[in-house]
Symmetry: C2
Subunit: 208 residues, 2 copies
DNA sequence: TTTTTTTCTTGACCTACTTCATTTTTATTG
DNA sequence: CAATAAAAATGAAGTAGGTCAAGAAAAAAA
């Protein structure tokens, strides 16, 4: 039997928080009390396409979990060029990590690439959670370790591969991202120009 | 009053472990019992120049803290080229982090650049420490977060700067490393050839 | 649906960095 | 302290990828 749900309830706080709890439970086992504690530490926020959740000069006060939608974290250099550090879609975390953990002004822009829903926790609340319960400390430790391991793989891959190989690798590892991020943003993530990525893509199409 | 100490005692287990305890105390405050617990979890190992502590194909069983000396972590690609992921000198940690945290076979070589002394903890012992005491969990969480923040800065810097600027930046940020790592290794860390780094250096000398 | 803005494509030319081969310098070993 | 090996320097030629400019396509706004 099919139940019709009004559109605005599809990502209401209750269901969106389920996806976070589900995620966290992959790494630590939460009791019902801990589940409640975690849920009440996060706030649901809707973000429209092209809206910024982090901007240079302002300290990044929140760590965000993407429930729905897509984001991009990037820097703009003096000469006006954009360079992408990170993308995030459903079930990924995003922040200006240097700004967040050191509580310094951000250097990154973080912008929504689609209308999105995030769950965000405030810096002080996160400190509270970690201090009050070993399990939450463990969770954030695992997140940081996985993040670090990921960036090690990325750095090595970037050092050892050509622009074309980097693109091929991205396609292979993140097929879900490719059609949701603009080409110029992907190019700047992979360390090449949008023109050059365009040529790589067209060469591929002609081959197949 | 000056006390003369036989050379072989300068880095005996007691004093080398002090440097680790000192380091850890920068991030969490250890009781004397916790200090003892931490000390007894680490083993001192002397490593001769050119000796490997991690090799591809073998799982990296230890996390190492450098008490004295210098190390280099690098990969060798199919075409024989070396690419450096990390250096470590006194008070830095080194491991094939992906191999260590996932307990998978390593892809990196880690080699001593000088006769060195490390303190190493075994994977299972580290898990024990973290499980048994919230404070140790916190410590390793902070290590991972700082590592991740560092690599974010590195990736952004690499994306946004020329070979020459990357070298200048390394000089500025890590003056202690420069004279202790071979040029070809530094070049491969910075993502350029040793020939090109040689030219950059000579251009600098002529300028000044 | 039309207009406007943003993104992508394509061609022509350019340059930062690589490759290869040889010599010089520095470090290691017997 | 020779002899040998490893690392660094240097020149000449090559190329992966960048820049710039203009048009085409797609998306957003009106």
């Amino acid at each position: 039997m099919l139940i019709l749900v009004p559109k605005h309830e599809l990502f209401n706080p209750v269901s969106s928080k389920k996806s976070l709890i589900n995620y966290v439970n992959n790494f630590v086992e939460l009791s019902s009390e801990e589940t409640h504690q975690l849920e009440s530490s996060f706030e649901e926020v809707k973000v429209k396409k092209r809206q910024f959740i982090v901007q240079p000069g302002f300290t990044n006060m929140h760590r965000a979990f993407v429930v729905k939608g897509a984001f991009r974290a990037y820097i703009i250099t003096n000469d006006g060029q954009e360079h992408t550090l990170q993308f995030a879609i459903e079930n990924w975390w995003i922040s200006d990590f240097n700004s967040y953990i050191y509580q310094h002004p951000a250097t990154l822009f973080i912008v929504a690439l689609e209308d999105s829903t995030i769950l965000q926790i405030e810096y002080n609340q996160e400190q509270e959670l970690k201090k009050s319960n070993h399990k939450f400390e463990t969770f954030f430790r695992i997140m940081a370790e996985k993040g670090l391991a990921f960036e090690h793989r990325r750095i090595l891959f970037n050092l050892t591969n050509s622009a074309e190989a980097r693109y091929e690798n991205f396609l292979l590892n993140f097929p879900n991202f490719v059609n949701r991020v603009p080409q110029y943003a992907l190019a700047s993530y992979l360390g090449m120009t949008t023109e050059f990525l365009s040529r790589i893509r067209n060469k591929r199409i002609k081959k197949s």
